[in-house]
Amino acid sequence: MTACVLAPLVGGTSISLANVFDRTRPYAENIDAQIFFVARLPRVLAAALVGSALALSGVVFQALLRNPLASPDTLGVSAGASLGAMLAITFNLDVSVFGLSAVPLASFAGSLGALAIVYGLSLVRRSGTSTMVLLLGGVTLTALLSAVMGFVQFVADFTQTFRNVRWMMGSLDVASYSPIAGALLPMALAWTGFATLPRVLDLVSVGSESAAARGVDVVRTERIALVSASLATGAAVSLAGPVAFIGIIVPHLVRLIVGADHRLVLPGSALFGATLLIACDVVARTVMAPLELPVGIVTALVGGPVFLWLLFKRR
């Protein structure tokens, strides 16, 4: 919360709050107000949404797949979203719906495509098959989609390749509120799904047999978890690009602080993910001002060492 309030005040240019809320000056001429409302506030909101969505998905995937290395990227949803965005950039796709431009739309469509494949995998999966199947399926799907992305890059021309690469680095400069509003719908659905999960995830993460023995409908829980986490990931990636590491380190850090109880881990991760991404974005836009670093670079540079430290500290 504090980060949400403070972050819009920090940036490459200095603005004065008094000017921002100065009613005597018309909005159209008030540069400070426009920097605040057009450039910074949407970014902070986007960072909060994306950070919490990725962190929540990370928690759910790690519990579901019973694998500490699982992340929102593991099942290929993120790769699907990336492929969608690349296709839109490379083939100059030109559609817009409700003020949403082609790239985020195509990206979200890509994530839904990947979600459909993953969901198909989970339907085939019967009780008795290990989560390993889902995990391997996801890894294979990611590799496959990466190969297609490589091909798209190959046929793209110079400026398109440049834009593709930039998109892959992640950026929160959403420049208006409509992409945020667009992402809110799938995220709201996902959060509704997440809200049903805390107690059963505790049981499922121990093992599906013991969860079933305690009366949990394991198959149903897994599907809700899978679809919610994938929706949230798809919405997040289509809003800001594939922002690295938030989805994998935040759940671990939060578990270190509050323990393994998902009733605490889920909300804790949402808050911490939001805060961390807002903070990383503040770093991204100030450290080289007036130039801005893509936020994905900051999260990876900060996240990588922290995660390594975590891994070796546990041994």
């Binding site: 030109d94 431009s101 110079f158 930039r166 400069d173 208006s176 801005e292």
Partner: protein
Amino acid sequence: MKLRLFAALCVALLIGHVAGRAAQRSTSSAVPRRIVSLVPATTEMLFAMGAGNRVIGVGTYDRFPPEVDRLPRLGGLLDPNIEQLIALRPELVIVYDTQADLRRQLERAGIPMWPYSTRDLADVTSTVRALGTRIGLSAEANATADGIEARLKAVQARVAGQRRPRTLLVFGREPGTLREINASGGYGFLHDLLEIAGGTDVLADVKRASVTMSTEMVLARAPEVIVELHYGEEWPASRIAEETRVWSQLSSVPAVRNKRVVLVAGDEFVVPGPRVPVAAERLAAILHPEGAR
């Protein structure tokens, strides 16, 4: 002892080999009649200095002059087709300075080459002159270069003394939104063109050829004119109007408030070749509409 003799022999052979290669190159490259240019800028230069009939192959992105459409396309910066290139038996290949692999392959095949690099607007005419000298058309090349310089000077003279609007030169962004705005920074031929056309570059202090801008940066720099370059596919007027409207949410920017956001199409803005005066004239007409004829 034996070993040392062997080494000496090797060195001698190597020197002989290199010398032979060099001799072969210098004789075969006296006046090249069959030229391949993989760089749009140099292709245009060759045609401008009257060597168009010697061009036997071009790159993927060559669009001007229209004659290039009849010529075989041999790939671009990243994907030159070396087999097709050698099969054309060129006597000179103009390559990008950074195409290290291609340069190595051409060297191995004994095909003379001319590495091209560019940094700013002054490089356009110096490249024309150097290229002319290389292909034995010094006089023609000098005349072409003089013509370019004279036209640029004329533009400069026309806008001299007029107020120089603070201008942002955008050459790319995500269509339909203000995300990933790429603008010309404080050096490079676009920056130089802007200065000649009578504008003040709002990014003059950022010493890079291209700058990715956030909306915050656009708001803070408050340009009086925004010129957005558009190239490649053709856009209908409705699309141009739509893309211009995208800027309207930044209404505190003087360019937006005073309706001085201009989308211009034309690849003369992205090719640092002999058409740079055309680009300068068009920019000057946008920045100084009152003086335009």
